[in-house]
């Protein structure tokens, strides 16, 4: 097998699609979230409040029922109150400089970073992992936290006409908009949020906002527009530079300087983005841009809004805050009459030169649909991509992506570029390549486009009568930079036979489905016009057959499904055998079918403690391909359910006596922590026997419900596998200490080491006194696996359970194992993972999931040593996480403190 074949084989080993209902669930949840979002961004004055209140009501409903109810002691607030205040309050005053800077559209307060005096409570306390955002342009506040949110809003009017809005957040995720028209907003966090009109200086008494906790006293809100918030002052370093003409060295006054985000994906492409366009600069092999001024031969967008912007003074100097936490960022300089300058990272006091620009060519125009109709789809989805060579850098190729305006117009300044290619692309339309000549000069260019946003048409029968309820399935090509997959959309015709399906790309195939009519499959679908379909009625055929077992005896009540093979549409007809094992269907649309028969699994899988099946169940499946012809009967199909292996055995108690009516289930175990698949279940017969017939190859678990444990069996071919169960049991108890303290709430698992190689696992946990116990434990040798969640450390041992009762006192070691990495220190905070290699007597191979082998994790504070406490004696591998190149060492831990060196 070649490497490519192997790759292909590998690729096929993972399923393509999730469980049936998962797609619908995700789409529904996602759309609901987006619908909330749409509602939240509508410019309605009160919608945000109403919506937040709705969120509140929805969540409060649940909370009120729970013991934890933050509103139990809620104070009553005035009529403006939408909901009661929560417990605890604090506020942030508005940042004056931010208020007056019209170009900063976002104020961003990162959790944990904002601990200035304006904030009474550190944000990290308030929003674990959350971010607060203030979108100035729309006058709205959006709050994001990681978890479920409860949002409460109190609106209060003050005597000067200002409005204070109190937001109460508890534990969660939520989107809240405060729409107060032109009222400026400020943001605070935790449970109460005070929003103040920062333009009005003064003090407001907010003592009405009562606090429920003693620690958080009511306080005043101070508003001081002239003083910038100290948050930025203290934390953000300044970035200074000078902009000069590259040719003459003259300072350029009034140039705009700001940060834009840049993404450097691997070795090659740079993407500079700003709200209106993106600039890609690619290079085939490598591209070093650090410290180098990158000249782009065009003006990306003269109107672009920089995230943080300053203007140069008469001497060409500028100063702007240096943005933190940005991995890669460009400084961009834009001056009238000059090319924009990009600088990866300038020295703090360095100069930022820009060169002179001659505007040679400007292209603008508007996009209209070919038919002259109104464009469907949105301008935001449409881009104009300009590909060009970079003068002086023959190896480079750049491209400029411009998002079209809302009216589908575009306006690009091409600077010195002569040789360019244009591509217009939009989500719902064909790409359109345009030649340079078309775009030369300052012409208004009207571009023809082919409409691929929707497919519409009418479905009729041969007499021209419209057909309602026809399923129309459309497959279209997905359009994305990183994917070439397909979209599937469906629509149903209305009473007039009309359908309208979203396509989001060129249509590949249309399939129709309607009872009584031939399935339509169309691959040539013209774009941009209605696609009408005529369906012909079909004459159906019939099917007859028999289901038998391996000895030829009929199987009654078997499931038979006739599955029609088709492109796009797959239909299954469900049939059932009668007492003679016969099945029939008289009304099947013609075509190729797969007929699949299997015994009735429902009875076997019932959760009733005594299923009907005693002793033996069949779980085999048989199938055959048949062709159904119009108006004819296909008969004599015989499906013999044979094949597969037999898993059988006897249940005996401790005295060796067979036990009847013991429930045994066959599982397809998921050893990696997922759901285990139940295949069949039965009860043992009078002799204590059980048998599962027709078991396919693979690993199965015979689960003995009475004992609560299982045995693994590896099934292959058609042989018999004897798995006897039962046997003598005992009670296994233990108590877990560390030093003299009991270890509470530790997870305790025991895994039986079977002779045949199975692993029989049971789970328990310690109580507050460190005690745990397992009843009815089969006798044998076990791996004991205890996880202490407090320290995230695992203790492993071997125990023998041989008598009626086994009691164990387990003293967790307090020895300290030190890993010394000082030979080559690592950054503080680096993690080290300890994984099990071998403990004598423990069958490592049976601890299948890799996660079972993770014993402990440690973090270094000084970058030189890691300390692990309570590691059981054994052979381990210690590996540093996130360190390149990988570093690990194998260590042998014994019952004493020891230090190991990791080079």
């Amino acid at each position: 097998m070649s490497e490519r074949d192997f790759e292909g084989w590998l690729e096929k080993q993972m399923p393509d699609t999730p469980s049936p209902d998962v797609d619908a669930k995700i789409l529904a949840a996602g759309k609901a979230m987006l619908a909330n979002r749409r509602a939240a961004t509508q410019p309605s004055r009160w919608r945000g409040l109403a919506q937040a209140a709705a969120i509140l009501l929805a969540i409060t409903g649940g909370l009120l029922l729970s013991p934890w109810n933050p509103w139990r002691d809620a104070p009553t607030v005035e009529t403006q109150r939408i909901a009661a205040a929560g417990n605890g309050s604090f506020q942030v005053t508005a940042d004056a400089s931010y208020e007056t800077d019209p170009l900063s559209s976002w104020l961003r307060l990162e959790a944990g970073a904002c601990t200035a005096e304006a904030v009474d409570v550190p944000l990290e306390t308030a929003f674990p992992g959350g971010i607060l955002r203030v979108e100035r342009g729309r006058g709205s506040v959006q709050l994001f936290t990681e978890k479920e949110a409860v949002v409460e809003i109190t609106k209060k009017k003050f005597k000067r006409g200002s409005v204070v809005v109190v937001l109460t957040l508890a534990l969660g995720w939520g989107v809240v908009e405060l729409n107060d028209g032109s009222q400026p907003l400020a943001v605070g966090a935790e449970r109460v949020l005070v929003v103040e009109p920062a333009a009005v200086a003064g003090e407001f008494d907010v003592q009405d906002v009562k606090a429920n906790t003693e620690s958080a006293a009511p306080s005043n809100v101070a508003v001081a527009p002239s003083e910038p918030a100290s948050v930025e002052d203290e934390a953000t370093p300044k970035f200074r530079g000078r902009v000069v003409d590259l040719a003459t060295g003259e300072p350029i006054a009034g140039a705009r300087v700001g940060w834009v985000n840049v993404w450097v994906p691997g070795a090659g492409a740079i993407i500079v983005s700003h709200p209106k366009s993106q600039v890609f600069v690619g290079h085939p092999t490598s591209l070093v841009i650090d410290e180098e001024l990158v000249q782009l031969p065009f003006t990306p967008d003269p109107l672009m809004k920089l995230r943080v912007e300053a203007r140069t003074d008469d001497e060409g100097f500028y100063e702007l805050p240096r943005e933190r936490e940005k991995e890669a960022e460009f400084l961009i300089v834009v001056a009238d009459g000059y090319q924009p300058g990009f600088l990866r990272e300038a020295p703090p006091e360095g100069e930022t030169p820009v060169s002179a620009l001659q505007v040679k060519r400007r292209v603008f125009g508007q996009v209209v649909a070919a038919s002259g109709e109104e464009l469907r789809g949105e301008a935001m989805r449409m881009t104009l991509r300009v590909v060009f060579d970079l003068p002086g850098h023959p190896d480079w190729q750049g491209s400029l992506v411009v998002y079209l305006e809302d009216d589908f117009s575009f306006d690009v300044d091409l600077g010195d570029v002569d040789d360019v290619k244009f591509t217009l692309s939009a989500a719902s339309y064909e790409d359109l390549e345009l030649s340079t000549s078309l775009l030369a000069g300052d012409n208004d260019v009207r571009l023809p486009l082919v409409d691929h946003a929707y497919l519409a048409g009418k479905v009729t029968d041969e007499s021209g009568q419209p057909l309602a309820g026809v399923n129309v399935l459309v497959r279209s090509r997905a359009r994305s930079l990183f994917s070439r997959s397909m979209n599937h959309f469906s629509a149903t015709t209305n009473e007039a036979g009309q359908y309208l399906a979203t396509t989001y790309g060129p249509v590949i195939e249309v399939t129709t489905e309607k009872e009584g009519y031939a399935t339509g499959e169309f691959t040539k679908v013209p774009a941009g016009k209605p696609f009408d379909i005529t369906l012909r009625p079909t004459e159906n055929g019939a099917l007859r057959g028999l289901v038998v077992d391996s000895r030829g005896n009929p199987i009654a009540n078997a499931n038979v499904r006739a599955i029609r093979n088709g492109v796009g549409v797959i239909r299954a007809f469900v049939l059932r055998t009668d007492d003679t094992g016969a099945f029939s269907a008289s009304d099947l649309p013609p075509g190729k079918y797969r007929v699949v028969a299997s015994p009735d699994m429902e009875a076997q899988q019932t959760d009733s403690p005594f299923p009907e099946e005693i002793g033996v169940v069949h779980i085999g499946v048989e199938q055959e391909e048949v062709v159904i012809s119009a108006g004819a009967e296909t008969a004599g199909v015989e499906l013999r359910i044979a094949g597969g292996a037999i898993v059988m055995g006897t249940y005996r108690d401790e005295d060796g006596a067979p036990r009847k009516n013991e429930r045994i289930a066959l599982y397809r175990p998921d050893l990696l922590g997922g759901d285990h698949q139940r295949v069949a279940a039965l009860v043992t017969d009078g002799e204590g026997h059980y048998a599962f017939h027709g078991v396919p190859s693979g690993t199965f678990a015979v689960y003995v419900e009475g004992l609560g444990n299982y045995k693994l069996v590896k099934v292959k071919g058609t042989g018999e596998h004897i798995v006897d169960v039962g046997g003598a049991t005992s009670v296994f108890r233990g108590r877990l200490f560390r030093g003299s303290e009991p270890v509470a709430r530790a997870a305790v698992a025991i895994g039986r080491i079977e002779e045949g190689g199975g692993l029989d696992t049971r789970i328990g946990g310690t109580d507050d006194d460190g005690r745990f116990s397992f009843e009815r434990v089969a006798r044998g040798r076990y791996v004991l696996h205890i996880t202490d969640k407090q320290t995230d450390t695992v203790l492993l041992d071997i125990i023998d359970v041989t008598k009626d009762e086994r009691e164990l006192e387990i003293d967790w070691p307090t020895t300290v194992t030190t890993i010394d990495v000082s030979a080559s220190p690592v950054p503080a905070g680096t993690e080290l993972l300890l994984e099990l290699v071998d403990i004598p007597g423990i069958p490592i191979a049976q601890l299948v999931p890799a996660s079972y082998l993770r014993i402990a994790k440690a973090t270094t504070e000084d970058g030189a040593t890691f300390e692990l406490t309570g590691i059981s004696p054994g052979h381990y591998r210690a590996s540093l996480l996130g360190v390149e190149p990988a570093r690990s060492v194998e260590i042998r831990v014994q019952r004493r403190n020891a230090t190991f060196t990791l080079d």
């Binding site: 998962v22 299997s598 295949v679």
Partner: protein, 176 residues
């Protein structure tokens, strides 16, 4: 449509964009989740968490970065989180009774078997190697995209991938 446009559409609350984006990336994300977790049920959850997490964080993500690597990374992180929680590592056997119809059982069984074997084998590779295989084969990322995600030069990724394939073939020798 490129990712930036999608992100913007999502920020505006465009449900159609979500459907299209889900359609475009679902397969890679799901297959990658299977390869990471080795379990179809876990992969279902990871898939859901990745996409809904994207919506939840839509205002925070960098719109200049491609989405697929972002989605894959969030699958990875969530999977690691799940492993850390003890319940996930050690779920008792009869935790769920997912009865399926027999035909699906059989055909799914063969696939499940190799899925578990393959994801185990990948997990047995030295970690950067295994991750490269998952991202490349199941996540559908290019070498460059993997390089950007793992912050390693593309040439190194290519070499690791080759080495990983060889190693995997040895591990899987009998099954292939």
């Amino acid at each position: 449509m490129d990712d930036t446009t999608w992100i913007r559409a999502l920020r505006r609350g465009d449900a159609n964009a979500f459907e299209a984006l889900y359609g475009a990336y679902r397969q890679q994300v799901y297959r990658y989740a299977c390869s990471v977790s080795g379990s179809a049920a876990s992969a279902d959850d990871l898939l859901q968490e990745a996409f809904l997490g994207l919506l939840r964080n839509i205002d925070r993500i960098d719109e200049t970065r491609p989405l697929l690597p972002y989605l894959l990374q969030s699958v990875k992180h969530r999977h690691v989180d799940r492993l850390r929680s003890f319940e996930e590592r050690r779920r008792p056997l009869p935790a769920t009774d997912r009865t399926t119809d027999p035909e699906e059982v059989t055909s799914q069984m063969e696939r499940d078997e190799s899925r578990v074997i393959v994801s185990d084998a990948i997990a047995a590779l030295a970690e950067p190697q295994g991750e490269v295989v998952r991202l490349k084969v199941y996540g559908g990322l290019t070498y460059d995209a993997i390089a950007a995600q793992l912050a390693v030069p593309a040439a190194t990724i290519r070499n690791r991938y080759r080495a990983a394939l060889n190693h995997l073939r040895q591990l899987l020798g009998r099954s292939v």
